[in-house]
């Protein structure tokens, strides 16, 4: 049910580079797991609401009151690359 093209497409969406070997292995492993998972397709779930939270809470709201931010040196401390007081990345336009 999942083929090589699907795997490549999903890897692109997930921004994951996969080597040729990994593509082959992943296709096989995912197919096997998906086959197991697909059994939920057999259940009659008409009219059953989805559960995205087991806690039935609402309105965990926060008062609109500022708190101190991090020092910029701290914010940038773990960045792989820094320039001009910001996080440097290869340009999306390059």
């Amino acid at each position: 049910m999942i083929d090589r093209e699907d795997v490549l497409h999903v890897a692109r969406l997930a921004r994951l580079e996969l080597s040729e070997d990994e593509v082959i292995q992943m296709t096989g492993e995912l197919a096997k797991v998906l086959e197991h998972i697909a059994r939920i397709g057999e259940l009659d779930l008409d009219g059953v609401p989805p559960t995205s939270h087991v806690v039935e809470l609402t309105n965990a709201l926060r008062p609109d009151v500022p708190r101190p931010s991090l020092d910029p040196e701290v914010a940038l401390a773990s960045a792989p690359a820094v320039a001009d007081g910001g996080f440097a990345v290869p340009s999306p336009q390059a």
């Binding site: 309105n59 709201l61 931010s69 914010a75 340009s91 999306p92």
Partner: protein, 484 residues
């Protein structure tokens, strides 16, 4: 789709336009963390683990963003959802720290509504992206090799307002957006400033044969950052689609960018695959359930909205529709006007002065922040009405008041700008002017009343504008033996 008319006549095509507006909310803190909003601070000084998307951090919804969202919904006549939830919109970009934007998807805060005949589809809340600056070693924008991310703006609360495709022209789009801006400004929920990016507008545009009701293929025109560009951009896209259809080609659904300098429209579609945002409910957040208290608080905070205010100005004060709209749609002008109103019995004249001469001086600035006081403006209107100062001289008085403040009486006295109320003196000046403009006098006698301008002009120059134009006309005609 075939759209050629049977007789080969040029087909009548009608544009169909819907707007998607993003508004930065003027809360104290960000949408999901307690960082203060940023207004030009140094980069990355308004960040925390949440808005940097650090591992382990979690979002918590800003109460006031919900409050503002409800006020917007009320102002637009939306249905306020008893329960709304936040989804994750997944995609990778350096300005998106978590790899997803928290946004509302199929259960937004507000549904439906109407503003001045344009139906609202929905209003939802989400978080703004960070600022990505493209600055390579060369400083060039295109082709720069490196970009830098500043997360100060990241996480600023946004309300996204989506209209139905009820707009038919670029001008209508621009006018309607101005009304929306006035409304939001009146609510106090945003600075709604296009230059600063607190108001952003995308347009969905299609064209269809007049008389049909199905929608054509639409394109999305992104991020036009001024009212002028909105009009130009939409018009350019309408023209592009018309040309395609008239040439028998199809419009492709895509996202477009309008470059205001070249007036060119370019496709933003990346070489990557089409987006698949994989929306799903954010498991870090729980539903927002609107309580009676939240509704009451929003209702209590609702000011009189521009449309209602304009209607009241017309109905109660007898202002012209034009004046009423100008005052109401720029709420700060309306506020200034209403502050001056108790000091004059001439509402329309006050409105005319505020929306005309005063705006000419102040541009987009708020009159409340100028040295001119509303009662001073009203006093000047009173003086003009009583013919204590001429229209022309009053403009000079106003300029002085806007620059340095004070009372109009003082300025008039200090600068000798009072109207010449000595009729004999003025009659003498008029007689001299007629004597010096015999050509004009002949033309007037011959029935060309327009020629009177030259004589009035000379009198005005002679008197530094302190003479009343109507009085001069009367004297000229009298001295030439003509009746008024």
């Amino acid at each position: 789709m075939s759209v050629s008319a049977p007789d080969g006549a040029k087909l009548q095509l009608e544009p169909v336009i819907g707007l998607e507006i993003h508004v930065q909310l003027l809360t104290q803190t960000k949408m999901f963390c307690s960082c203060a909003l940023s207004f030009g601070e140094p980069p990355n000084t308004r960040t925390c683990p949440v808005c940097l998307g650090l591992p382990g951090s979690l979002p918590v919804v800003n109460e006031r963003a919900i409050h503002f969202g409800l006020m917007i919904g009320m102002a637009l006549g939306s249905e306020l959802a008893p329960r709304s939830i936040f989804h994750r919109k997944n995609y990778f970009y350096p300005d998106l720290p978590k790899g997803y934007q928290i946004s509302q998807y199929d259960e937004p805060l507000c549904l439906g509504g109407d503003l001045d005949g344009v139906r609202i589809h929905r209003v939802h809340l989400e978080e703004d992206a960070a600022k990505l600056t493209h600055a390579g070693a060369t400083g060039r924008i295109q082709g720069s090799s490196r970009s830098v991310v500043d997360f100060n703006r990241g996480g600023t609360p946004l309300a996204e307002i989506v209209t139905e495709p009820d707009i038919r022209t670029a001008e209508q789009a621009s006018d309607w957006l101005k009304l929306l801006r006035a409304t939001l400004r009146r609510l106090g929920v945003s600075n709604v400033n296009m230059d600063e990016g607190s108001l952003r507008c995308d347009a969905n545009i299609s064209v269809r044969p007049v008389g049909t009701t199905t929608l054509g293929t639409k394109t999305e025109l992104k991020n036009m950052n001024s009212f002028r560009f909105i009009e130009r951009g939409i018009n350019a896209e309408i023209a592009r689609q018309r040309a395609l259809i008239e040439a028998g080609e199809a419009v492709v659904q895509e996202t477009l960018h309008f470059d205001p300098t070249t007036e060119q429209i370019t496709s933003l579609r990346s070489k990557e695959e089409a987006h698949d945002y994989r929306y799903f409910p954010d498991p870090d957040l729980i539903p927002v359930a609107i309580t009676p208290e939240m509704l009451e608080a929003a209702r209590a905070a609702m000011p009189e909205l521009p449309a209602a205010r304009a209607e009241r100005f017309e109905r109660e004060l007898g202002l012209t529709g034009d004046s009423a709209h100008q005052l109401a749609f720029r709420g700060e002008l309306g506020d200034f006007f209403e502050a001056g109103l108790p000091h004059t019995g001439h509402a329309q004249q006050l409105a005319t002065w505020v929306t005309g001469e005063l705006v000419r001086h102040l541009g987009d600035a708020d009159p409340a922040s100028s040295p001119l006081r509303p009662d001073g403006m009203a006093a000047l209107v009173e003086l003009v009405a009583a013919r204590k100062v001429t229209q022309t001289a009053a403009k000079d008085v106003l300029a002085e008041l806007v620059a340095n403040g004070g009372s109009p009486e003082e300025v008039i006295a200090a600068r000798g700008l009072g109207a010449i109320d000595d009729s004999d003196q003025l009659a003498g000046i008029v007689a001299a002017a007629i004597a010096g403009n015999t050509d004009a006098a002949e033309k007037i006698r011959a029935g060309n009343r327009k020629a009177i301008g030259a004589i009035i002009g000379q009198v005005m120059r002679q008197t530094n504008g302190r003479a009343d134009g109507g009085e001069i006309t009367r004297l000229v005609l009298e001295q030439l033996g003509l009746d008024g």
